[in-house]
């Protein structure tokens, strides 16, 4: 089971560090990261393995959303199934 974390907003120092810190806390293993900075807008997509988490998915999702609010970024955490459903036939 995997989840996709997306982070969108103004670039600043240490975003990747802080987001992956939350993942580590919940034992969600980061599998892949892509990021780009376009005209100071930061967009990062992170794929994490959630099959060995030490707490429920909702707690991590809430914490990441709160982190986003704190940093002025929009952070979404979603189960991979939704992307499979919408973009794969």
């Amino acid at each position: 089971m995997r989840a996709v974390i997306t982070v969108i907003g103004n670039d600043n120092v240490g975003i990747l560090h802080k987001v992956s810190g939350v993942c580590a806390k919940y034992q969600a293993n980061v599998i892949e990261v892509t990021q780009s900075v376009l005209q100071e807008m930061f967009a990062m997509i992170m794929m994490v393995d959630i099959s060995k988490m030490n707490a429920d998915f909702a707690s991590m999702s809430d914490e990441l959303t709160a982190l986003g609010t704190e940093l002025g970024l929009s952070i979404h955490t979603m189960h991979e199934d939704i992307f499979n459903a919408m973009h794969r036939i």
Binding site: V4, T6, I8, E32, T34, A43, I45, M47, F57, A58, S61, D62, S74, H76, T77, M78, H79, E80, D81, I82, F83, A85, M86, H87
Partner: protein
């Protein structure tokens, strides 16, 4: 990136749809049969209803919230639809059916759902025991409850239009508005008159659980006018057939998401998965308007000449895209055009471009009918009945569902505004024709089914 990984563009498209374009699951509705709750003792029947609903739907809201969290997709409403209550009222001819309304309200409060639909009667060919009493009790039932929705099916392609019921519904709608005049006439906003009512529709106020359905099912209604509008506005120069293709692709993605959520909910609740209703259901929120889709297609204001053609194309493309995404398509499935719930429709009605006559024409090519339209409060009951009769005729002849949900605004006139708030929005009072239809309606009886109903 290897093959199993996702395309960043796809991921960001999904996020944008949800965050900026109001994509959501409009409703997960649990259909519950109450046939096994029928009892000649109305108090016993009410206890059975309460027990069955609160047992079956105990985890409905909780499960919906869990799915929202896990998949990051908002599920706006969690609702319940039940067997038409007239069937239960039939067993208790000497009691006031309003007791059932109270039981349903209590069950809805306990489960935490915002609406329960099914205070309904199916009288398209005639009245059976319980039907008339239930219909007459609708104004009181909608007055004393807040979460109850009511519907009456008065016509069908196979059986014609029951004009006695049509006459009665004009009176019921007016009375319901009067009883709730101190609350923005909210009564009739929870009451739908149908022709060819679908038995698996998850959308309120017209949801009920048909007698051909399983004991308990989960139905899902998706939304997404904002996504379609935003997609269309990226292609200002495409021809209409090319545009239809773009709409199909968008509808496919939206419906796949609905299908996934329905399947998950059904598995988590241990309840059979019913249908996905692939409707474009607008809300008053900015960017979530069907009228704005039609305007993005090239019309200056919704309601001008060309609106019916644009809506016909939109409705068809949504269905074609949706049917491939789900093997269980049902309900109303098409574009909704409720005036008060759609920012663009409200503006067009206030502007005078969108009229009742144009809306009537539009209902011939979309999935529903005259929906959430405020009319002057001093209108005759027979005029409301005549509005219903016209709409039912369109549904009957065109083999489709049509519906009427009009709200007489007591003490108000053309240009005033009813304010419902929330998803129901605000309704500008629209003019109706003041010439009498009374003698036509007073005749009663039945309009026979059309020639093409004889198919066997």
């Amino acid at each position: 990136m290897n093959n199993s990984m996702f395309n960043a563009t796809d991921i960001l498209e999904t996020i944008r749809m949800i965050q900026d374009e109001c994509l959501d699951i409009r409703t997960t509705t649990m259909g519950i049969s109450l046939v096994d709750c029928i009892d000649p003792n109305i108090d016993k029947a009410c206890d059975k209803i309460y027990d069955k609903i609160t047992h079956k739907a105990e985890k409905l809201v909780e499960t919906g919230e869990k799915i929202e969290k896990e998949y990051g997709i908002p599920i706006i409403n969690k609702r319940i639809a039940v067997t038409p209550i007239a069937m239960l009222a039939a067993a208790c001819p000497n009691d006031n059916p309003v007791k059932f309304a109270k039981a349903l309200q209590r069950a809805a409060e306990t489960c935490g759902v915002n609406f329960v639909g099914g205070y309904s009667a199916l009288v398209h060919k005639g009245f059976s025991a319980g039907d008339e009493a239930l219909i007459r009790s609708i104004p009181e039932a909608l007055d004393i409850t807040t979460r109850l929705c009511s519907s009456v099916n008065v016509g069908s392609t196979r059986s014609g239009i029951n004009m006695d019921a049509v006459k009665m519904m004009g009176e019921v709608i007016l009375e319901s508005a009067k009883l709730t005049a101190d609350r923005q006439c909210v009564g009739p906003s929870k009451l739908v008159v149908f022709c060819n009512a679908p038995e698996d529709n998850p959308f309120m106020a017209g949801a009920f659980h048909g007698v051909g359905e399983s004991d308990c099912v989960i139905n899902v209604g998706v939304s997404g006018p904002g996504v379609v509008r935003s997609t269309i506005s990226k292609y200002p120069d495409l021809s209409l057939d090319q545009l239809a293709d773009i709409i199909k692709k968008t509808a496919f993605k939206i419906t796949r998401m609905g299908q996934m959520v329905g399947a998950k909910a059904s598995k988590m609740l241990g309840v059979e998965f019913g249908i996905v209703d692939l409707s474009l259901a607008p809300t008053p929120a900015v960017g979530d308007s069907v009228a704005h889709i039609l305007e993005a297609m090239g019309l200056e204001t919704c309601g001008t000449h060309g609106t019916t053609a644009a809506l016909a194309m939109l409705n068809d493309a949504v269905k074609k895209g949706g049917v491939m995404a789900s093997s269980n398509v049902g309900g109303l499935s098409g574009a909704f055009i409720p005036v008060s719930e759609d920012a663009g429709m409200i503006d067009a009605a206030v502007d005078g471009t969108l009229t009742l006559s144009k809306l009537e024409a539009m209902t011939a090519v979309c999935s529903v009918g005259l929906d959430m339209i405020a009319i002057p409060g001093d209108v005759e009951a027979t005029t409301i009945s005549a509005i219903i009769a016209d709409e039912m005729a369109i549904g009957m002849v065109n083999n489709k569902t049509t519906a009427v949900r009009v709200i007489p605004a007591i003490g108000m006139k053309e240009g005033d505004m009813l304010e419902f708030g929330g998803l129901f929005g605000s309704a500008p009072v629209m003019p109706v024709c003041r010439k009498s239809s009374a003698r036509f309606i007073e005749r009663g009886g039945r309009i026979p089914a059309p020639m093409h109903s004889i198919k066997n």
